[in-house]
Every structure is written in structure tokens, then in C-alpha cells.
């Protein structure tokens, strides 16, 4: 098995990109990543997207993107796993290079959510259509059910949930690619319009357009290139019941826990070795549950751990220096690779004012639905 490195990354600004199409934003991110890597070709590509069919009426985007990127007839494949589509796509790129089948691969993600579709309906298709959505559940609703149970069982407070959003907006204010480059206060988060009690609009990631891409190659192939090398040390993926109600403990995200354990084992590192993490904070409660499952803190302690500043830029384990899904934006299919873009920039020491000091080992965690799928990757600058 060959060792695999990330040699290039690029992303569009996230936000309401009215003037750009689905294909435009993907090609923009892909060109940036290819240029950053300094390669003259790619052998194949993977494109993560949740539901371009519902958002803009376009399926078969693998071939579309290869066509508009000008790289046909190379193989291209779309990968779908709801909001962790592109995180899962990265695994396929990793395996294709480590197997020796290809030398240079582009892995990207894209979503265009602001072209007039019913985003609440489209996102809800990641839940159980017949037994959750049929009853009128929404995605904020599912995470609200988790939040209420977490507060009831562990004493997590409304303020602790809000602390996640405050921290992520603070970081996002320093990210030129973020959708919301501004700070919010605890009071603003708690007093914002309720979406699904106890979660407000400021506990929730926005509806976004955006794309992100990385270029992968083998360590051997990379020797001829003059770029910093970020090695993929570990990759783990896992699944759980699609319906939240089918889980024994609705505050536990078992797929996140397993995907983390597999990635840690493959990488030969433990949670305390991680210098910087980008995790799936689609809602404030999600970040609290995820940092527990990844072992940054004990189960049930994610609220106080966040409130005490441990996940801040200068904290014990900086989480979501990019601003996270909350502030940077969450074009669902693009999110997994956008997390990788941030971690690569952090490990290269090129993250500007939001740079985490001495970051050598980074982690990304991306999940689909209410946690029915999760993928974790661990990276190291070499």
C-alpha cells in the first residue's frame, strides 16, 4: 500500500453565490487545487454531492464536472453520503492512489443550495423518509431532539450550546472564505428566532453554495513536486441507524465514535496527539456530541469543555478554526473537503490570523444525516 499525500487544495468562497452556477463553482475550486499542487494532469476524479438533483435538477455531475474542467475522458464518479459525501469521496481517492492504480487524483465536493429549491425538504431526504420525514420532522428538529435529551441527561445548558456558535463565529470572522465573517454574542444566539426548540437559527449552519477540492498523490510521485506534503495518516468511516429514534441512546453518535477509533488506530495516534480539528458542527449540539465521541473530552462533558475555552483557537484542542459549518457555511456536499482544505492550510502554517500555533497533526470529521454516517481523517505535515 502506497502512502498518500495532499499536495493541493482550493475552495470557493461559501455563501449565496447567485451569479455562479453549480459547474462554475466546482471548476473554480478544482482549478485552484490543481494550480496549488502544480501538477499538469489528473488521472481520475471523485465528486461528493448530496442532492444536486433536488437542489438544481442536475444529476450525473461527475461527467458534467470532468467535461467543464476540460479533463474528459478521465474517469469521474459522484459519491453520495448526505452531508459527508465529499468526506467519503476522499477515502476513494486515498484507496485508488494507495492501491497503485492512479498517481494523481482530484477529490472535490460541491452543492448549490440557493437556486430556489425547498432546502428544508431536500435536506430532510437524508433522514428516514417514511418514518421520520412523513411525521413532519426536519433536520433542525432531529438535532433539537438530541439537544433536549443531552441537556436532560448531562445537564448541558443553553449557554453551553450557544458557546459553540460564539466560538465558531469568532474564528469565521478571520476566514475570507466564510459565509458569515462576523462575531455573535451568547445573547444573540440564545435570543435568535427558534427553528426547533431549543435550537435557534444561530445554533444552525446556513444554507450555502460552495465547492472545495484537493489533489492527492503518492509520496513517491510527490518527490518531483515543490510543494509542502500533508500525509493522510488515517481514514475511518462508519454507519448507524438512519432513523434517530432507532438508536438505544439518542445522545450518542456511534458512527462518529467508530469512524474516529478506526482512523486513530490506522494513524497510530490518540486524541491527545491532535493539534487541530475540523468537525461537523451542522448544529451547535452536533459539535458538543462529536468532540465527546472523538475522545477530546468525556461523554456528557462537551458543553462545559466548550464553555471553558478548550476548543478555542488558543485552547487545548482548537476545533473548527475555519469557523466551522456554522460560520464558514455548509454547502452540504462540499463540507467534507472544505474541512480538509482548512486542516491542510493549518498544517502548512498558512491559515493567517486564525493559525493554530505549531499544528503538526490535524483531524477532520464529517457526518451525514443525524449521524447515520461519519468519516474521520487524520493528517500530518511531513
Amino acid at each position: 500500500m502506497r502512502e498518500v499525500v495532499v499536495i493541493g487544495c482550493g475552495m470557493t468562497k461559501f455563501g449565496e453565490l447567485w451569479k455562479k452556477s453549480l459547474r462554475d463553482i466546482f471548476v473554480e475550486a478544482a482549478l485552484k487545487a490543481i494550480d496549488d499542487a502544480g501538477v499538469d494532469h489528473i488521472d481520475s476524479m471523485y465528486v461528493g454531492a448530496m442532492t444536486p438533483g433536488l437542489f438544481v435538477g442536475q444529476e450525473h455531475i461527475s461527467a458534467l464536472m470532468a467535461d467543464y474542467l476540460g479533463v474528459a475522458p478521465i474517469p469521474a464518479m459522484r459519491v453520495e453520503s448526505a452531508c459527508c459525501s465529499s468526506g467519503m469521496a476522499l477515502r476513494l481517492g486515498l484507496f485508488e492512489i494507495s492501491s497503485g492504480h492512479s498517481d494523481v487524483i482530484l477529490v472535490g465536493g460541491v452543492e448549490k443550495m440557493n437556486d430556489g429549491a425547498d432546502a428544508t425538504f431536500a435536506l430532510a431526504t437524508a433522514a428516514d423518509q417514511e418514518y421520520e420525514v412523513y411525521q413532519g420532522v426536519t433536520f433542525p428538529g432531529l438535532y433539537a431532539l438530541i439537544a433536549r435529551a443531552h441537556m436532560h441527561r448531562y445537564g448541558t445548558t443553553r449557554e453551553q450550546l450557544a458557546a459553540v456558535s460564539v466560538k465558531n463565529h469568532h474564528n469565521g470572522a478571520m476566514n475570507p472564505n466564510a459565509q458569515f465573517q462576523r462575531e455573535v454574542t451568547l445573547e444573540q444566539v440564545m435570543n435568535a428566532t427558534l427553528v426547533a426548540d431549543p435550537l435557534t437559527v444561530l445554533d444552525s449552519s446556513p444554507v450555502s453554495d460552495g465547492a472545495a477540492c484537493v489533489v492527492l498523490t503518492s509520496v513517491d510521485f510527490a518527490k518531483q513536486l515543490k510543494v509542502p506534503l500533508v500525509k493522510i495518516l488515517g481514514s475511518g468511516a462508519a454507519t448507524d441507524t438512519l432513523a434517530l429514534h432507532s438508536r438505544e441512546d439518542i445522545t450518542a453518535l456511534k458512527a462518529v465514535k467508530v469512524s474516529g477509533e478506526v482512523a486513530y488506530k490506522m494513524a497510530g495516534v490518540k486524541p491527545s496527539d491532535i493539534d487541530v480539528a475540523e468537525v461537523h458542527d451542522c448544529f451547535s449540539i452536533a459539535e458538543i456530541c462529536v468532540i465527546e465521541e472523538l475522545g477530546f473530552t468525556e461523554k456528557g462533558k462537551g458543553g462545559p469543555f466548550t464553555e471553558q475555552g478548550n476548543t478555542a483557537l488558543e485552547g487545548k484542542i482548537p476545533v473548527n478554526p475555519s469557523g466551522g459549518l456554522k460560520s464558514k457555511g455548509h454547502p452540504v456536499g462540499a463540507t467534507g473537503i472544505a474541512q480538509v482544505v482548512e486542516v491542510v492550510e493549518q498544517l502548512r502554517g498558512k491559515a493567517g490570523t486564525r493559525q493554530v500555533k505549531n499544528a503538526k497533526i490535524g483531524l477532520t470529521q464529517n457526518m451525514g444525516g443525524s449521524g447515520a454516517s461519519s468519516v474521520t481523517h487524520i493528517f500530518q505535515i511531513i
Binding site: T120, G136, P140, G141, L145, A196, L199, H245
Partner: protein, 129 residues
């Protein structure tokens, strides 16, 4: 929702039909072909208990188009008295009446009118007891 798809789910939505694993005794709603607990493939038909307990709840304030006229409405995960959980609306109550641990019973109600075809979609909801 296309009518074959609606029709297929009627035993669950109208009568709370579930499946009980012949080998390990665990019940599933809706029925499955493979037991998620023991991997066995033999099931007996059973029915959910008509009462249960609220595991968690929320009030939906932003809904998809089919439910937009109903907001705000309460959604809960309920554990039926025979140990099977489902997601359901809780109706005929005020949001502040809801609490984790409160008892409910399932009732047969209209859920929504399907947008394009106007099919009236029925199923279970819960009320506080």
C-alpha cells in the same frame, strides 16, 4: 407521495404493525427482513403497544412545504410500552405541557395533504394521557 408507496406503509401507519424476531424476541417498527440485534431472518407479526413514554421532544417552527401550515407543532421520539421507539407528532397540547418521561397514547389522525395530488395522508400521532 405516489399511491403505491403510501399503500405499502398502511399496516404500520394505520395499525402500528411491527415484527418480533423469533430468535431473540426483539421487536422492530417498521418490520425488517433481517434482525438488527441477532441477524436472524424469522419474524412474527406483532403490534406496538398503544401507549408509551416521551424520550425527547421539540417544537418545529420551520417546516417543509407539506407541513408549513401546521407550524408550530410538537415532534417527539416516543418509546412504546413494548420497548420500540418511533418519531411522532404530539398533538392537542401546549408546547409547555411536554416533558421527557410523560406518558402518551397513539391516535389515528390526518398528517398532511400531499401537495401535487392532494392525497390526504393519514397515520399515527400521540396525545398526552
Amino acid at each position: 407521495m405516489p399511491s403505491p408507496r403510501y399503500h405499502r406503509e398502511m399496516p404500520q401507519r394505520y395499525r402500528l404493525e411491527a415484527a418480533k424476531c423469533k430468535k431473540c424476541g426483539k421487536s422492530f417498527f417498521p418490520p425488517r427482513l433481517v434482525c438488527a440485534a441477532c441477524g436472524s431472518k424469522g419474524f412474527d407479526k406483532t403490534k406496538l403497544s398503544e401507549t408509551g413514554t416521551i424520550v425527547s421532544y421539540t417544537i418545529i417552527r420551520v417546516a417543509p412545504a407539506d407541513f408549513a401550515t401546521q407550524v408550530p407543532y410538537a415532534i417527539a421520539i416516543v418509546e412504546s410500552d413494548n420497548g420500540v421507539r418511533l418519531t411522532t407528532q404530539v398533538v392537542d397540547c401546549k408546547p409547555e405541557d411536554l416533558e421527557i418521561g410523560k406518558k402518551v397514547k397513539f391516535v389515528f389522525r390526518k398528517l398532511y395533504t400531499e401537495g401535487q395530488t392532494g392525497i390526504i395522508c393519514y397515520g399515527y400521532k400521540a396525545v398526552l394521557v
